[in-house]
Protein backbone atom coordinates (compact mmCIF):
# COMPACT_ATOMS: atom_id res chain seq x y z
CA UNK A 1 0.00 0.00 0.00
CA UNK A 2 1.35 3.44 -0.94
CA UNK A 3 1.87 5.84 1.97
CA UNK A 4 -0.36 8.93 1.85
CA UNK A 5 1.47 12.14 0.93
CA UNK A 6 2.55 14.25 3.91
CA UNK A 7 1.36 17.32 2.01
CA UNK A 8 -1.60 17.14 -0.30
CA UNK A 9 -3.25 20.14 -1.94
CA UNK A 10 -6.12 20.20 -4.40
CA UNK A 11 -7.47 23.31 -6.08
CA UNK A 12 -5.73 25.42 -3.43
CA UNK A 13 -6.56 29.11 -3.65
CA UNK A 14 -5.50 32.10 -1.64
CA UNK A 15 -6.97 35.54 -2.09
CA UNK A 16 -5.90 38.41 0.08
CA UNK A 17 -6.80 42.03 0.11
CA UNK A 18 -4.20 44.67 -0.68
CA UNK A 19 -5.85 48.04 -0.21
CA UNK A 20 -9.04 47.81 -2.25
CA UNK A 21 -7.78 45.11 -4.58
CA UNK A 22 -8.20 41.35 -4.26
CA UNK A 23 -4.89 39.64 -4.98
CA UNK A 24 -5.17 36.05 -6.19
CA UNK A 25 -1.90 34.66 -4.87
CA UNK A 26 -2.73 30.99 -5.45
CA UNK A 27 -5.11 30.02 -8.27
CA UNK A 28 -6.08 26.39 -7.88
CA UNK A 29 -2.86 24.62 -7.00
CA UNK A 30 -2.51 20.83 -6.87
CA UNK A 31 0.45 19.38 -5.02
CA UNK A 32 1.52 16.10 -3.41
CA UNK A 33 4.71 15.72 -1.41
CA UNK A 34 5.70 12.38 0.03
CA UNK A 35 7.27 11.81 3.39
CA UNK A 36 11.07 11.98 3.18
CA UNK A 37 11.12 13.97 -0.06
CA UNK A 38 13.38 16.98 -0.64
CA UNK A 39 11.43 19.30 -2.93
CA UNK A 40 12.38 22.70 -4.30
CA UNK A 41 9.74 25.18 -5.33
CA UNK A 42 11.10 27.62 -7.80
CA UNK A 43 9.58 30.61 -9.42
CA UNK A 44 9.92 34.35 -9.97
CA UNK A 45 8.79 37.00 -7.50
CA UNK A 46 5.01 37.14 -7.30
CA UNK A 47 4.58 33.55 -8.45
CA UNK A 48 2.93 32.62 -5.11
CA UNK A 49 5.72 30.48 -3.68
CA UNK A 50 6.01 32.54 -0.49
CA UNK A 51 2.22 32.44 -0.02
CA UNK A 52 2.37 28.66 -0.42
CA UNK A 53 5.18 28.55 2.16
CA UNK A 54 3.10 30.57 4.63
CA UNK A 55 0.02 28.42 4.10
CA UNK A 56 1.90 25.12 4.43
CA UNK A 57 3.52 26.44 7.62
CA UNK A 58 0.17 27.39 9.12
CA UNK A 59 1.00 31.07 9.20
CA UNK A 60 -2.09 31.97 7.19
CA UNK A 61 -5.15 29.95 6.15
CA UNK A 62 -5.95 29.14 2.53
CA UNK A 63 -9.10 30.66 1.01
CA UNK A 64 -10.48 27.55 -0.68
CA UNK A 65 -9.62 24.13 -2.06
CA UNK A 66 -8.29 21.37 0.13
CA UNK A 67 -5.00 21.01 1.93
CA UNK A 68 -3.74 18.46 4.42
CA UNK A 69 -0.36 18.75 6.08
CA UNK A 70 0.71 15.79 8.21
CA UNK A 71 -2.91 15.01 8.91
CA UNK A 72 -4.02 18.59 9.62
CA UNK A 73 -6.82 19.86 7.38
CA UNK A 74 -5.66 23.42 6.97
CA UNK A 75 -8.99 24.72 5.72
CA UNK A 76 -10.83 23.57 8.79
CA UNK A 77 -8.43 23.99 11.70
CA UNK A 78 -8.66 26.86 14.17
CA UNK A 79 -5.98 29.46 14.87
CA UNK A 80 -4.97 27.53 17.99
CA UNK A 81 -4.55 24.35 15.94
CA UNK A 82 -2.43 26.22 13.40
CA UNK A 83 -0.25 27.37 16.29
CA UNK A 84 0.02 23.71 17.35
CA UNK A 85 0.97 22.72 13.80
CA UNK A 86 3.83 25.24 13.85
CA UNK A 87 4.89 24.05 17.27
CA UNK A 88 4.94 20.32 16.52
CA UNK A 89 4.85 19.56 12.83
CA UNK A 90 6.74 22.14 10.79
CA UNK A 91 10.08 23.82 11.25
CA UNK A 92 10.96 27.08 9.52
CA UNK A 93 14.23 28.27 8.07
CA UNK A 94 14.16 31.84 6.81
CA UNK A 95 16.31 33.80 4.41
CA UNK A 96 17.23 36.33 7.13
CA UNK A 97 17.96 33.59 9.71
CA UNK A 98 15.59 35.29 12.20
CA UNK A 99 17.51 34.36 15.31
CA UNK A 100 16.61 36.24 18.48
CA UNK A 101 19.49 38.71 18.87
CA UNK A 102 19.45 38.76 22.67
CA UNK A 103 19.88 35.00 23.06
CA UNK A 104 22.90 32.78 22.47
CA UNK A 105 22.82 30.21 19.69
CA UNK A 106 22.07 27.51 22.28
CA UNK A 107 19.16 29.48 23.74
CA UNK A 108 17.84 30.26 20.27
CA UNK A 109 17.57 26.51 19.77
CA UNK A 110 16.26 25.78 23.26
CA UNK A 111 13.52 28.38 23.09
CA UNK A 112 11.86 26.30 20.39
CA UNK A 113 11.87 23.39 22.87
CA UNK A 114 10.38 25.66 25.51
CA UNK A 115 7.63 26.89 23.19
CA UNK A 116 6.80 23.29 22.32
CA UNK A 117 6.54 22.49 26.02
CA UNK A 118 9.41 20.01 25.84
CA UNK A 119 12.33 19.69 28.30
CA UNK A 120 14.74 22.53 27.71
CA UNK A 121 17.80 20.40 27.03
CA UNK A 122 19.60 18.89 24.05
CA UNK A 123 19.84 15.11 23.90
CA UNK A 124 22.77 13.07 22.55
CA UNK A 125 21.13 12.57 19.13
CA UNK A 126 20.67 16.27 18.75
CA UNK A 127 24.25 16.94 19.78
CA UNK A 128 25.27 14.65 16.94
CA UNK A 129 23.15 16.78 14.62
CA UNK A 130 24.90 19.90 15.95
CA UNK A 131 28.19 18.22 15.07
CA UNK A 132 26.87 17.54 11.60
CA UNK A 133 25.88 21.21 11.32
CA UNK A 134 29.30 22.20 12.64
CA UNK A 135 28.01 24.64 15.24
CA UNK A 136 28.48 22.72 18.49
CA UNK A 137 31.45 24.85 19.47
CA UNK A 138 29.61 28.07 18.62
CA UNK A 139 26.56 27.60 20.83
CA UNK A 140 27.63 30.05 23.53
CA UNK A 141 27.78 32.93 21.07
CA UNK A 142 25.07 35.43 20.29
CA UNK A 143 24.00 35.86 16.65
CA UNK A 144 26.06 39.03 16.20
CA UNK A 145 29.21 36.99 16.86
CA UNK A 146 28.34 34.37 14.24
CA UNK A 147 28.88 34.45 10.49
CA UNK A 148 25.89 34.34 8.16
CA UNK A 149 26.52 30.67 7.44
CA UNK A 150 26.74 29.84 11.12
CA UNK A 151 23.57 31.78 11.86
CA UNK A 152 21.72 29.88 9.16
CA UNK A 153 22.97 26.57 10.53
CA UNK A 154 21.76 27.59 14.01
CA UNK A 155 18.41 28.43 12.41
CA UNK A 156 18.33 24.96 10.83
CA UNK A 157 19.12 23.38 14.21
CA UNK A 158 16.33 25.41 15.80
CA UNK A 159 13.91 24.30 13.08
CA UNK A 160 14.79 20.65 13.70
CA UNK A 161 15.06 20.57 17.48
CA UNK A 162 11.46 19.43 17.94
CA UNK A 163 11.76 16.77 15.22
CA UNK A 164 9.19 18.31 12.87
CA UNK A 165 7.63 16.19 10.13
CA UNK A 166 8.39 18.91 7.57
CA UNK A 167 11.19 21.41 7.26
CA UNK A 168 10.15 24.52 5.34
CA UNK A 169 13.02 26.61 4.07
CA UNK A 170 12.36 29.98 2.46
CA UNK A 171 15.35 31.11 0.39
CA UNK A 172 17.75 29.62 2.96
CA UNK A 173 20.79 30.70 0.97
CA UNK A 174 19.47 34.10 -0.08
CA UNK A 175 21.71 35.99 2.32
CA UNK A 176 24.78 33.78 2.02
CA UNK A 177 27.86 33.87 -0.15
CA UNK A 178 28.39 30.99 -2.57
CA UNK A 179 30.65 29.02 -0.23
CA UNK A 180 28.20 29.15 2.66
CA UNK A 181 25.28 28.58 0.27
CA UNK A 182 26.87 25.38 -0.95
CA UNK A 183 27.54 24.26 2.61
CA UNK A 184 23.95 24.93 3.75
CA UNK A 185 22.43 23.22 0.70
CA UNK A 186 24.72 20.22 1.16
CA UNK A 187 23.63 20.08 4.78
CA UNK A 188 19.96 20.10 3.84
CA UNK A 189 20.64 17.25 1.42
CA UNK A 190 22.54 15.41 4.12
CA UNK A 191 19.73 15.85 6.64
CA UNK A 192 17.27 14.53 4.11
CA UNK A 193 19.40 11.48 3.35
CA UNK A 194 20.50 10.65 6.88
CA UNK A 195 17.35 11.48 8.83
CA UNK A 196 14.73 11.07 6.14
CA UNK A 197 13.69 14.64 6.84
CA UNK A 198 10.98 15.97 4.52
CA UNK A 199 12.21 19.29 3.17
CA UNK A 200 10.37 21.85 1.11
CA UNK A 201 12.66 24.59 -0.06
CA UNK A 202 11.53 27.76 -1.76
CA UNK A 203 14.06 29.49 -3.93
CA UNK A 204 14.37 31.53 -7.06
CA UNK A 205 17.84 30.15 -7.63
CA UNK A 206 17.92 27.23 -10.07
CA UNK A 207 21.34 26.05 -8.82
CA UNK A 208 20.09 25.84 -5.27
CA UNK A 209 16.91 24.12 -6.40
CA UNK A 210 18.97 21.43 -8.08
CA UNK A 211 20.00 20.03 -4.68
CA UNK A 212 16.45 18.69 -4.22
CA UNK A 213 15.00 15.40 -5.49
CA UNK A 214 12.24 17.21 -7.27
CA UNK A 215 11.75 20.72 -8.54
CA UNK A 216 8.32 22.29 -8.79
CA UNK A 217 7.98 25.48 -10.80
CA UNK A 218 5.37 28.11 -10.02
CA UNK A 219 4.09 31.05 -11.99
CA UNK A 220 1.10 33.30 -11.36
CA UNK A 221 -0.14 31.22 -8.46
CA UNK A 222 -0.08 27.94 -10.29
CA UNK A 223 2.30 25.02 -10.75
CA UNK A 224 3.70 25.02 -14.25
CA UNK A 225 5.84 22.48 -16.12
CA UNK A 226 9.55 22.84 -15.49
CA UNK A 227 11.51 24.57 -18.25
Amino acid sequence: MTEAPIISARGLRKVYRAGEVDVHALRGLDLDISRGEFVSIIGPSGSGKSTLFHILGGLTPPTSGSLTVAGYDLLKISEAERTRLRKTTVGFVFQKYNLLPTLTARDNILIARDIAGKPVELDADFNALLDLLGIRSRLAHKPRALSGGEQQRVAIARALVNHPAILLADEPTGNLDSENSTAVLALLGDLNRRLGQTILMITHNAEAAAYAHRIISMRDGRIVPND
Partner: protein
Amino acid sequence: MINRLVFENLKHRPVRTLLSALAVGVQVTMILTLVGISKGMLEDQAVRAKGVGADLSIRPPGSSAIGLSGNFDERILPFVLKQPHVVLATGVLIAPTGPITSITGVDFPTFASMSGRFRFVEGRPIEQPDEVIVDDYYAKEHQLHPGSTVKIFNREWKVCGVFEQGKVARIIIPLGILQKLTANTGKLSVIWVKLDDPARTNEVIAELRRAGLAEYQIWSMADLISQMSPNNIPVLKTFTAVVIGLGVVIGFLVVFLSMYTAVLERTREIGVLKALGATPAYIVGILLRETALLAVFGTIAGIILTFGSRWLIETLVPGSLTQAIVPDWWPIAGVIAMGGALLGAAYPGLKAARQDAIEALSYD
Protein backbone atom coordinates in the same frame (compact mmCIF):
# COMPACT_ATOMS: atom_id res chain seq x y z
CA MET B 1 14.03 29.73 29.32
CA ILE B 2 11.42 32.47 29.08
CA ASN B 3 13.00 34.13 32.11
CA ARG B 4 16.38 34.12 30.37
CA LEU B 5 14.81 35.77 27.33
CA VAL B 6 13.14 38.36 29.56
CA PHE B 7 16.38 39.10 31.37
CA GLU B 8 18.38 39.29 28.14
CA ASN B 9 15.78 41.60 26.58
CA LEU B 10 16.11 43.98 29.53
CA LYS B 11 19.91 43.79 29.32
CA HIS B 12 19.79 44.41 25.58
CA ARG B 13 18.46 47.96 26.07
CA PRO B 14 20.12 49.04 29.30
CA VAL B 15 19.28 52.75 29.00
CA ARG B 16 15.61 52.11 28.32
CA THR B 17 15.50 49.59 31.16
CA LEU B 18 17.25 51.97 33.53
CA LEU B 19 15.02 54.93 32.64
CA SER B 20 11.85 52.87 32.88
CA ALA B 21 12.83 51.43 36.25
CA LEU B 22 13.86 54.88 37.44
CA ALA B 23 10.53 56.36 36.39
CA VAL B 24 8.70 53.61 38.27
CA GLY B 25 11.08 54.36 41.13
CA VAL B 26 10.07 58.03 41.14
CA GLN B 27 6.47 56.92 41.42
CA VAL B 28 7.36 54.74 44.41
CA THR B 29 9.40 57.54 45.98
CA MET B 30 6.53 59.99 45.60
CA ILE B 31 4.27 57.70 47.57
CA LEU B 32 6.84 56.72 50.19
CA THR B 33 8.00 60.30 50.70
CA LEU B 34 4.50 61.62 51.17
CA VAL B 35 3.54 58.85 53.57
CA GLY B 36 6.92 59.19 55.30
CA ILE B 37 6.50 62.93 55.81
CA SER B 38 2.96 62.48 57.13
CA LYS B 39 4.10 59.82 59.54
CA GLY B 40 7.33 61.60 60.48
CA MET B 41 5.61 64.88 61.26
CA LEU B 42 2.92 63.22 63.32
CA GLU B 43 5.34 60.95 65.17
CA ASP B 44 7.45 63.97 65.94
CA GLN B 45 4.40 65.77 67.28
CA ALA B 46 3.48 62.72 69.35
CA VAL B 47 6.94 62.53 70.90
CA ARG B 48 6.78 66.19 71.84
CA ALA B 49 3.26 65.79 73.24
CA LYS B 50 4.45 62.89 75.37
CA GLY B 51 7.33 65.03 76.59
CA VAL B 52 4.91 67.41 78.29
CA GLY B 53 4.27 64.80 80.95
CA ALA B 54 0.52 65.49 81.10
CA ASP B 55 -2.28 62.95 81.46
CA LEU B 56 -4.79 64.80 79.30
CA SER B 57 -5.14 67.82 77.04
CA ILE B 58 -7.94 70.30 76.54
CA ARG B 59 -8.34 72.02 73.19
CA PRO B 60 -10.89 74.50 71.90
CA PRO B 61 -14.31 73.40 70.66
CA GLY B 62 -14.24 72.23 67.05
CA SER B 63 -10.47 71.76 66.95
CA SER B 64 -8.69 68.59 65.96
CA ALA B 65 -6.18 66.60 67.99
CA ILE B 66 -3.32 67.74 65.81
CA GLY B 67 -4.40 71.04 64.34
CA LEU B 68 -3.49 74.52 65.46
CA SER B 69 -6.92 76.01 64.86
CA GLY B 70 -8.72 77.95 67.51
CA ASN B 71 -7.88 79.46 70.86
CA PHE B 72 -9.90 79.77 74.04
CA ASP B 73 -10.12 81.87 77.18
CA GLU B 74 -7.34 81.21 79.66
CA ARG B 75 -9.81 81.68 82.56
CA ILE B 76 -10.71 78.02 82.02
CA LEU B 77 -7.30 77.13 83.45
CA PRO B 78 -8.14 77.98 87.11
CA PHE B 79 -11.48 76.24 86.64
CA VAL B 80 -9.71 73.08 85.51
CA LEU B 81 -7.27 73.29 88.38
CA LYS B 82 -10.14 73.19 90.85
CA GLN B 83 -11.43 69.87 89.56
CA PRO B 84 -10.93 66.72 91.63
CA HIS B 85 -7.72 64.74 90.97
CA VAL B 86 -6.16 67.61 88.97
CA VAL B 87 -2.81 68.43 90.50
CA LEU B 88 -1.31 70.60 87.77
CA ALA B 89 -2.46 72.41 84.66
CA THR B 90 -0.48 74.55 82.28
CA GLY B 91 -1.61 76.44 79.22
CA VAL B 92 0.29 77.05 76.01
CA LEU B 93 -0.40 79.22 73.00
CA ILE B 94 0.69 77.96 69.60
CA ALA B 95 1.07 80.39 66.72
CA PRO B 96 1.99 79.37 63.19
CA THR B 97 5.11 80.99 61.75
CA GLY B 98 4.90 79.32 58.37
CA PRO B 99 2.96 76.65 56.54
CA ILE B 100 4.37 73.90 58.70
CA THR B 101 6.24 75.66 61.47
CA SER B 102 5.00 77.24 64.67
CA ILE B 103 6.17 78.98 67.82
CA THR B 104 4.86 78.04 71.23
CA GLY B 105 4.30 80.31 74.20
CA VAL B 106 4.82 78.51 77.49
CA ASP B 107 4.24 79.43 81.12
CA PHE B 108 7.65 78.26 82.25
CA PRO B 109 7.04 77.76 86.01
CA THR B 110 3.94 75.57 85.64
CA PHE B 111 5.30 73.86 82.54
CA ALA B 112 8.51 72.92 84.35
CA SER B 113 6.51 71.58 87.28
CA MET B 114 4.65 69.29 84.94
CA SER B 115 7.35 68.11 82.55
CA GLY B 116 10.53 68.81 84.45
CA ARG B 117 13.05 71.45 83.69
CA PHE B 118 14.32 71.97 80.14
CA ARG B 119 17.64 70.24 79.71
CA PHE B 120 19.86 72.69 77.91
CA VAL B 121 22.44 71.34 75.51
CA GLU B 122 23.82 74.84 75.13
CA GLY B 123 23.04 78.17 76.73
CA ARG B 124 20.45 79.00 79.40
CA PRO B 125 16.75 79.68 79.99
CA ILE B 126 15.08 82.87 78.77
CA GLU B 127 15.85 85.97 80.79
CA GLN B 128 15.03 88.82 78.39
CA PRO B 129 11.81 89.52 76.42
CA ASP B 130 13.59 89.28 73.06
CA GLU B 131 15.05 85.86 73.78
CA VAL B 132 13.93 82.52 72.41
CA ILE B 133 14.90 78.92 73.09
CA VAL B 134 14.96 76.25 70.40
CA ASP B 135 15.34 72.49 70.52
CA ASP B 136 18.56 70.81 69.38
CA TYR B 137 16.94 69.46 66.17
CA TYR B 138 15.86 72.93 65.05
CA ALA B 139 19.19 74.40 66.16
CA LYS B 140 21.15 71.80 64.22
CA GLU B 141 19.10 72.17 61.05
CA HIS B 142 19.34 75.99 61.19
CA GLN B 143 22.85 76.03 62.62
CA LEU B 144 21.78 78.06 65.66
CA HIS B 145 23.71 78.50 68.87
CA PRO B 146 23.30 80.76 71.86
CA GLY B 147 23.87 84.27 70.55
CA SER B 148 22.44 83.51 67.08
CA THR B 149 19.43 85.45 65.94
CA VAL B 150 16.26 84.19 64.27
CA LYS B 151 13.57 86.25 62.58
CA ILE B 152 10.05 85.40 63.66
CA PHE B 153 7.02 87.65 63.10
CA ASN B 154 9.27 90.23 61.45
CA ARG B 155 11.27 90.53 64.66
CA GLU B 156 14.81 89.56 65.50
CA TRP B 157 15.03 87.12 68.39
CA LYS B 158 18.18 86.15 70.16
CA VAL B 159 18.67 82.45 70.78
CA CYS B 160 19.70 82.10 74.42
CA GLY B 161 19.44 78.35 74.83
CA VAL B 162 19.24 75.08 72.95
CA PHE B 163 17.24 72.38 74.76
CA GLU B 164 16.92 68.62 74.23
CA GLN B 165 14.07 67.89 71.82
CA GLY B 166 10.89 66.22 73.00
CA LYS B 167 9.40 69.11 74.97
CA VAL B 168 6.11 70.27 73.42
CA ALA B 169 7.65 72.45 70.68
CA ARG B 170 10.75 73.35 68.73
CA ILE B 171 10.68 77.12 69.24
CA ILE B 172 9.54 78.46 72.60
CA ILE B 173 9.07 81.92 74.10
CA PRO B 174 7.20 83.01 77.24
CA LEU B 175 3.43 82.67 77.00
CA GLY B 176 2.67 86.31 77.83
CA ILE B 177 4.97 87.63 75.11
CA LEU B 178 3.46 85.40 72.43
CA GLN B 179 -0.07 86.31 73.55
CA LYS B 180 0.73 90.01 73.22
CA LEU B 181 2.64 89.60 69.99
CA THR B 182 -0.18 87.74 68.26
CA ALA B 183 -3.00 89.81 69.79
CA ASN B 184 -4.15 86.80 71.75
CA THR B 185 -3.95 88.25 75.21
CA GLY B 186 -5.78 85.96 77.62
CA LYS B 187 -5.98 83.16 75.08
CA LEU B 188 -4.60 79.63 75.07
CA SER B 189 -4.40 76.90 72.42
CA VAL B 190 -4.03 73.91 74.72
CA ILE B 191 -4.24 73.18 78.40
CA TRP B 192 -2.16 70.24 79.57
CA VAL B 193 -3.43 68.59 82.74
CA LYS B 194 -1.62 66.34 85.23
CA LEU B 195 -3.65 64.11 87.54
CA ASP B 196 -2.87 62.61 90.90
CA ASP B 197 -3.67 59.20 89.44
CA PRO B 198 -3.37 58.63 85.66
CA ALA B 199 -5.75 55.66 86.02
CA ARG B 200 -8.53 58.17 86.67
CA THR B 201 -8.02 59.98 83.34
CA ASN B 202 -11.30 58.88 81.75
CA GLU B 203 -13.17 59.61 84.94
CA VAL B 204 -11.73 63.15 85.05
CA ILE B 205 -12.49 63.70 81.36
CA ALA B 206 -16.11 62.73 82.00
CA GLU B 207 -16.23 65.03 84.99
CA LEU B 208 -14.78 67.97 83.03
CA ARG B 209 -17.41 67.47 80.34
CA ARG B 210 -20.15 67.35 82.93
CA ALA B 211 -18.73 70.44 84.61
CA GLY B 212 -19.27 72.62 81.52
CA LEU B 213 -16.50 71.72 79.06
CA ALA B 214 -18.65 69.40 76.98
CA GLU B 215 -17.91 71.36 73.79
CA TYR B 216 -14.14 71.22 74.29
CA GLN B 217 -11.88 68.60 72.80
CA ILE B 218 -10.58 66.70 75.81
CA TRP B 219 -8.20 63.86 75.06
CA SER B 220 -6.29 61.47 77.22
CA MET B 221 -2.64 61.34 76.13
CA ALA B 222 -3.09 57.79 74.84
CA ASP B 223 -6.05 58.84 72.70
CA LEU B 224 -4.32 62.01 71.58
CA ILE B 225 -1.26 60.12 70.40
CA SER B 226 -3.36 57.46 68.70
CA GLN B 227 -5.08 60.28 66.80
CA MET B 228 -1.73 61.37 65.43
CA SER B 229 -1.92 59.04 62.46
CA PRO B 230 -2.28 59.97 58.79
CA ASN B 231 -5.46 57.87 58.70
CA ASN B 232 -7.14 60.29 61.07
CA ILE B 233 -6.54 63.30 58.86
CA PRO B 234 -9.06 63.26 56.02
CA VAL B 235 -7.22 65.84 53.92
CA LEU B 236 -4.01 63.83 54.20
CA LYS B 237 -5.81 60.64 53.23
CA THR B 238 -7.22 62.40 50.18
CA PHE B 239 -3.84 63.86 49.29
CA THR B 240 -2.20 60.44 49.66
CA ALA B 241 -4.86 58.93 47.42
CA VAL B 242 -4.24 61.65 44.81
CA VAL B 243 -0.47 61.03 44.90
CA ILE B 244 -1.04 57.27 44.61
CA GLY B 245 -3.35 57.93 41.64
CA LEU B 246 -0.71 60.12 40.02
CA GLY B 247 1.87 57.43 40.71
CA VAL B 248 -0.25 54.83 38.97
CA VAL B 249 -0.72 57.14 35.97
CA ILE B 250 3.04 57.82 35.77
CA GLY B 251 3.84 54.09 36.03
CA PHE B 252 1.20 53.32 33.43
CA LEU B 253 2.48 55.92 30.95
CA VAL B 254 6.15 55.07 31.39
CA VAL B 255 5.66 51.35 31.03
CA PHE B 256 3.15 51.84 28.23
CA LEU B 257 5.68 53.86 26.21
CA SER B 258 8.56 51.55 27.08
CA MET B 259 6.68 48.37 26.20
CA TYR B 260 5.06 49.91 23.15
CA THR B 261 8.45 50.81 21.70
CA ALA B 262 9.76 47.38 22.74
CA VAL B 263 6.92 45.68 20.86
CA LEU B 264 7.53 47.82 17.77
CA GLU B 265 11.25 47.17 17.94
CA ARG B 266 10.72 43.44 18.38
CA THR B 267 8.06 43.03 15.71
CA ARG B 268 10.19 40.61 13.73
CA GLU B 269 11.16 38.65 16.85
CA ILE B 270 7.50 38.33 17.78
CA GLY B 271 6.91 36.98 14.28
CA VAL B 272 9.71 34.46 14.79
CA LEU B 273 8.23 33.33 18.10
CA LYS B 274 4.86 32.91 16.42
CA ALA B 275 6.45 30.92 13.61
CA LEU B 276 7.98 28.68 16.25
CA GLY B 277 4.50 28.06 17.61
CA ALA B 278 4.38 30.53 20.49
CA THR B 279 0.83 31.14 21.64
CA PRO B 280 -0.48 34.67 22.30
CA ALA B 281 -0.29 33.86 26.03
CA TYR B 282 3.41 32.95 25.69
CA ILE B 283 4.17 36.27 23.99
CA VAL B 284 2.10 38.32 26.45
CA GLY B 285 3.82 36.38 29.23
CA ILE B 286 7.24 37.58 28.05
CA LEU B 287 6.13 41.22 28.11
CA LEU B 288 4.37 40.91 31.44
CA ARG B 289 7.42 39.29 33.02
CA GLU B 290 9.60 42.07 31.67
CA THR B 291 7.18 44.60 33.08
CA ALA B 292 7.04 42.87 36.44
CA LEU B 293 10.83 42.87 36.58
CA LEU B 294 10.89 46.59 35.72
CA ALA B 295 8.38 47.22 38.51
CA VAL B 296 10.51 45.24 40.98
CA PHE B 297 13.68 47.13 39.97
CA GLY B 298 11.70 50.37 40.10
CA THR B 299 10.36 49.61 43.56
CA ILE B 300 13.86 48.88 44.86
CA ALA B 301 15.14 52.07 43.23
CA GLY B 302 12.19 53.98 44.69
CA ILE B 303 12.90 52.72 48.19
CA ILE B 304 16.55 53.75 47.87
CA LEU B 305 15.50 57.13 46.47
CA THR B 306 13.32 57.64 49.54
CA PHE B 307 16.49 57.85 51.64
CA GLY B 308 17.71 60.41 49.13
CA SER B 309 14.53 62.44 49.39
CA ARG B 310 14.86 62.46 53.19
CA TRP B 311 18.42 63.71 52.86
CA LEU B 312 17.28 66.38 50.40
CA ILE B 313 14.53 67.60 52.73
CA GLU B 314 16.91 67.73 55.67
CA THR B 315 19.43 69.61 53.55
CA LEU B 316 17.23 71.99 51.56
CA VAL B 317 14.43 72.73 54.03
CA PRO B 318 16.01 72.02 57.40
CA GLY B 319 13.98 72.01 60.57
CA SER B 320 10.68 71.96 58.75
CA LEU B 321 9.56 68.57 57.45
CA THR B 322 10.41 65.34 59.21
CA GLN B 323 10.34 62.33 56.91
CA ALA B 324 10.06 58.88 58.43
CA ILE B 325 11.20 55.79 56.54
CA VAL B 326 8.11 53.64 56.26
CA PRO B 327 9.03 49.97 55.58
CA ASP B 328 5.41 48.91 56.15
CA TRP B 329 4.54 50.92 53.03
CA TRP B 330 7.25 49.35 50.84
CA PRO B 331 5.12 46.37 49.78
CA ILE B 332 2.08 48.64 49.30
CA ALA B 333 4.05 51.01 47.07
CA GLY B 334 5.46 47.96 45.27
CA VAL B 335 1.99 46.60 44.57
CA ILE B 336 0.84 50.03 43.34
CA ALA B 337 3.89 50.28 41.05
CA MET B 338 3.28 46.75 39.79
CA GLY B 339 -0.38 47.51 39.15
CA GLY B 340 0.38 50.67 37.15
CA ALA B 341 3.13 48.93 35.22
CA LEU B 342 1.06 45.85 34.32
CA LEU B 343 -1.77 48.15 33.26
CA GLY B 344 0.72 49.95 31.04
CA ALA B 345 1.90 46.69 29.51
CA ALA B 346 -1.62 45.47 28.76
CA TYR B 347 -2.14 47.23 25.42
CA PRO B 348 1.38 46.64 24.04
CA GLY B 349 1.01 43.01 25.15
CA LEU B 350 -2.29 42.71 23.34
CA LYS B 351 -0.79 44.34 20.26
CA ALA B 352 2.07 41.86 20.30
CA ALA B 353 -0.25 38.90 20.78
CA ARG B 354 -2.42 40.01 17.86
CA GLN B 355 0.55 40.68 15.60
CA ASP B 356 0.16 39.00 12.24
CA ALA B 357 3.05 36.55 11.96
CA ILE B 358 3.64 37.09 8.23
CA GLU B 359 3.64 40.89 8.52
CA ALA B 360 5.87 40.63 11.57
CA LEU B 361 8.35 38.40 9.76
CA SER B 362 8.63 40.84 6.87
CA TYR B 363 9.15 43.82 9.23
CA ASP B 364 12.49 45.59 8.89
